[in-house]
């Protein structure tokens, strides 16, 4: 609510100050050549502006204000629909923000990188004259990016105003909850089981089965928790879903609460997501007003309330038992299972924990049916999965693909291939910091729970980092294990000290001090950590190391035995030499070298004295002809 109060008067105040200048353009519009006669049907105009975090950061609020001002200035305010400028959530391609759809006469044109100063021309040429501003429209990459995707969850995110419950109801929102409440609990669970929906939070446990276990527990009260902790670095699928379509998550929780007999729902969300929290608050308030949350919801005799619990942003608090401890006010630290949360969860009572994405799949499963959902995806992994596609790839962003799609399609069709033309794909890391590395040779593999597991990685919550041949796998493994080490809760020995020692061994290898048996030590330690750690963090933390050793062992050996980092990433192992063929004798390298290692005289090619070189890389950066290697 606070946000609306903040934004609305601001918009008003802005247009208010501009009232004086309205006259001029108004007359201009009147005397303008063909606005009313031949122009498009402005009455039906719809403008959609991306107001996701990416959009906001790129200035979408200013763009919205500018549209209002401009429409007013052009005297169109009276013609267009009152709410013709709509806010939407993230569309996944945040690099192109602010993204704006202009829908006129039934056709949609999408503009990219819109700034307030561009609005004048868009209104003038496109809206009034019907001529879209071609040079600002999105290019073919926007379409290839979207065409191969199957958007169920993200589709709605890019279409509706997340702060308006009526927009959600307008596209069939809350029909799922209404329908679920007219069925028996048993029927709802059966439907979810039939759909084959599996948890999107990491482990991929069958959602229907989890619900069934909880519904069988005879203790009361029961709780349903939405896990919106989303701690993987670079992951933002859950945030985008909440920001773009908070009601779908709430509706999913109502369905789950009803099916399992939980009357109280918690949304555990990290405090670093202020926009998502704000939108959830608005959504909960609006849903309560409509009678979808509260006592006797949908007049079906079922009570359901939702509370928001803000987490302090510890990665481990995404683990379900740590999350429960955190809600209870204890240190966020996992505990042994059994007992499982479905039997003894929050405050010792039966509790279902589901991920944001899992929950937001439920409304359409109930309305469209289990068989519709099961028709999407692969044999054992149904539906779609949202991934945060990043790394050395052309189109980075949020994508939603059917389960079972090949990695190749994701990287080359949706992702548009490597970011830099002359580089090759080397590997893909899936599953976040505790996932594994999949080498380019396995690019045809299907992306589903089982296949990813088999290759030593995992689905995780949906991080996907693409690496090219300039990425050092040892360095990469070190980066990921440093993350898990610093986020370990410290409860158990293998994870707390074991990952630290692995990190140190990797640091020593990348620093040129690797020992002969370090690889074997890493494998033994990694295996033992996986086997003996208490929770999923420790049990998967060694994955990046073990999978890179499995597929890129030679690279490790090269670091240790030859003292060479094949990708040229590890500074300590770099050997700087001058490529005499390319050297243009400019001497820039000699001038920047602070150790006097570059031997150069005018009209002579430079030579680097290895014994003096401290491998700082200054010469490499300074050479305008790329002749230092």
């Amino acid at each position: 609510m606070a946000e609306r109060k903040k934004t609305r008067p601001k918009a008003k105040a802005k247009s208010g100050t501009k009232v004086k200048s309205v006259r001029k353009p108004k007359t201009a519009a009147k005397t303008g050549p063909k606005p009313k006669s031949k122009g498009p049907d402005i009455k039906g105009l719809v403008i959609r502006v991306c107001l996701g975090t990416g959009g906001l950061a790129a200035g979408s609020q200013e763009v919205i204000d500018a549209f209002h001002d401009e429409l007013k200035a052009q005297g169109l305010e009276a013609i267009v629909k009152k709410k013709c400028v709509n806010k939407t959530g993230c569309r996944g391609f945040c690099a192109k923000d602010v993204l704006v759809d202009v829908i006129l006469d039934g056709s949609t044109s999408t503009y990219q990188r819109v700034r307030p100063e561009k609005i004048g021309r868009i209104v003038e040429e496109h809206i009034i004259k019907g001529q879209p501003v071609e040079e600002w429209l999105v290019g073919p990459d926007y379409h290839t990016f979207h065409d191969k995707q199957t958007k169920i969850l993200l589709k709605q995110c890019g279409q509706i105003d997340p702060e308006d419950i009526n927009a959600y109801i307008g596209i069939g929102g809350y029909e799922g909850a209404k329908k679920a409440l007219s069925l028996t609990e048993f029927e709802v669970i059966e439907e979810v089981k039939k759909s084959g929906l599996r948890g999107r939070g990491g482990a991929g446990f069958l959602t229907g089965l989890k619900w069934e276990f909880c519904s069988m527990s005879r203790a009361f009260p029961k709780y349903i928790i939405c896990n919106a902790d989303e701690g993987d670095p670079g992951a933002f699928m859950d945030r985008s879903i909440i920001e773009g379509n908070p009601h779908s998550v709430i509706e999913g929780m109502i369905i789950g609460g009803y099916a399992t007999g939980a009357n109280i729902g918690y949304i555990y969300i990290r405090a670093e997501y202020p926009l998502a929290i704000e939108r959830l608050k608005i959504a909960i308030e609006e849903a309560t007003k409509k009678g979808f949350i509260g006592k006797n919801i949908f007049k079906q005799g079922f009570d359901f309330t939702i509370r928001i619990k803000e987490g302090a942003g510890a990665f481990i608090c995404g683990e379900e038992t740590a999350l429960i401890a955190s809600i209870e006010g204890k240190r966020g630290m996992p505990r042994s299972k059994p007992p499982f949360p479905v039997n003894k969860g929050l405050w010792g009572k039966p509790t279902v924990i589901n991920n944001v994405e899992t929950l937001s799949n439920l409304p359409s499963i109930i309305t469209k049916g289990a068989s519709w959902f099961a028709s999407i995806g692969s044999e054992q992994s149904k539906g779609t999965k949202v991934f945060a596609l990043t790394g050395k790839i052309k189109n980075t962003g949020l994508i939603e693909v059917p389960m079972g799609i090949s990695l190749k399609e994701i990287i080359y069709d949706i992702g548009g291939g490597m970011e830099k033309r002359n580089r090759e794909l080397k590997a893909v890391q899936t599953g976040g910091p505790s996932g594994g590395c999949i080498p380019a040779s396995h690019i045809d593999m299907s992306v589903d729970y089982e296949s990813l597991m088999r290759i030593g990685s995992m689905m995780g919550s949906g991080g996907m980092v693409v690496m090219d041949n300039y990425t050092c796998m040892v360095d990469m493994a070190k980066f990921f294990i440093s993350f898990t080490q610093s986020e370990s809760c410290g409860k158990c020995v293998p994870c707390r000290i074991g990952t630290k020692r692995m990190q140190e061994i990797l640091t020593r290898i990348t620093g040129g001090k690797g020992k002969e048996d370090d690889i074997d030590l890493l494998v033994e330690l990694g295996t033992d950590i996986k086997l003996s750690s208490l929770c999923g963090l420790g049990q998967s933390a060694p994955n990046p190391v073990l999978s890179t050793i499995k597929f890129f062992r030679k690279e490790y050996e090269s670091h240790i035995k030859k003292g060479i980092c094949p990708a040229g990433v590890c500074k300590a192992l770099r050997q700087y030499v001058v490529n005499t063929e390319n050297c243009k004798m400019c001497g820039k390298c000699a001038r920047v070298c602070s150790s006097g290692a570059v031997i150069w005289q005018p009209k002579q090619k430079a030579v680097i004295n290895k014994s003096k070189c401290v491998k700082c890389g200054a010469c490499f950066d300074a050479c305008p002809f790329k002749s230092i290697m």
Binding site: S336, S488, C489, G490, C492, P494, R501, S532
Partner: protein, 355 residues
């Protein structure tokens, strides 16, 4: 409810019948099978932190911690095989890799679970090298010395402080390799936040937490342990007085004591200075005029008997009574009450316990 049924389990080939909800560790203990533990204490909720007690359960790929895993019917458990042994050795080696390995002058030598395990599993501290904690010894508590470098993060101190004492003085703070038990905002452990009960010391398996008063006064195996009952209050806690050269050097918990299971409060654990105090009254004192005079027990008892008989004869038996101390044991209190009822023949009995 399935929990009520008797469950048959097999541990290392031995058949054991378990009632109620028992853990593998409890079932094994019953059958005399030892499973190594570091973070387990019978007084605390199962934790599963050190991972030393992991065992192989038939049909489960991952080894499971014996201390937290409940037995199920027909479960088959193997408490040690090559993989488990290797993992245990690696866990101990990891612990030693961040440990001062200072056994020669460590207060805990001879009574240290980590030292014993390293010996039993033949592990030295050289397998893993890397960063080691180098934190100062904390002497902010008047009764407890805390050497963080020797802490293995078993979490026993923090749990006993929260679960049993309910003082909430300490918890694990920090993340990853740098997690450690400490107070909120790492403030000193003083009278403002700590009860000085020493419960944390009583559960610490290593030399990280030690009783300050007993430091440097002898190895645990040099002590003669004398089981006694606390003389401070009516609870009747038991503990062991540790004697060296005939002197009480410190108090340690008697974990098998039926009343208190090794738990003690500050008085029982640290209030023993009076024993060898020069001011201590060792004989009965009889007041003559304004001053006290040492006497024998016979003299004192004769005097009391004379006076009581005189008073009763003169004023009647209702005018006298017995007032005992809550520092006496239950048995002593019972006896004094009985004395009043049979000798005074009245019910005038009271005790100082009012709080």
């Amino acid at each position: 409810m399935p929990e009520k049924k008797i469950k048959k389990v097999k541990i290392d080939g031995r058949k054991i019948a378990c009632e109620r909800e028992e853990t593998i560790l409890q079932a094994a203990k019953k059958a005399g099978i030892e499973i190594p533990t570091l973070c387990h204490d019978d007084r605390l909720e199962p934790y599963g932190g050190c991972r030393l007690c992991i065992v192989q359960v038939k049909g489960v790929v991952r080894p499971l911690p014996a201390c937290t895993t409940p037995v199920t019917n027909n479960m088959e458990v193997c408490t040690e095989n090559d993989i488990i042994r290797r993992i245990r050795q690696n866990i101990i080696a990891l612990l030693l890799s961040n440990h001062p390995n200072d056994c020669m002058k460590c207060e805990k030598t001879g009574d240290c679970a980590l030292q014993d395990l390293a010996y039993r599993y033949d592990v030295d501290s050289t397998r893993f090298e890397g960063e080691k904690w180098d934190l100062p010894i904390r002497e902010d508590n008047p009764f407890i010395s805390y050497e963080p470098n020797k802490c293995i993060l078993c979490g026993r101190c923090t749990r006993i402080c929260n679960e049993v004492v309910m003082a909430g003085t300490i918890d694990l703070v920090g993340r990853g390799f740098n997690s450690m038990p400490d107070t909120a905002f790492r403030r000193p452990r003083t009278i403002d936040n700590c009860e000085f009960c020493g419960q944390c010391v009583s559960t610490c398996p290593t030399g990280a937490l030690t009783d300050k008063k007993g430091r440097g006064r002898g190895r645990s195996y040099e002590m003669k342990k004398v089981r006694t009952t606390c003389s401070y209050c009516g609870t009747g806690c038991n503990f062991d007085l540790n004697l060296k050269d005939g002197k009480v050097v410190k108090v340690t918990s008697a974990y098998d004591a039926p009343v208190n299971h090794g738990n003690l409060c500050i008085k029982g654990r640290y209030g023993y200075d009076f024993i060898h105090s020069a001011d201590r009254i060792k004989t009965p004192l009889i007041r003559r005029g304004d001053s006290f005079h040492e006497a024998t027990w016979d003299e004192a008892i004769d005097l009391i008997a004379d006076r009581f008989s005189g008073l009763m004869k003169k004023y009647g038996n209702k005018t006298v009574g017995a007032f005992s101390s809550s520092r006496c044991t239950n048995e002593e209190n019972f006896l004094i009450a009985k004395f009043a009822r049979t000798v005074f023949k009245n019910n005038n009995v009271d005790n100082c316990a009012r709080v």
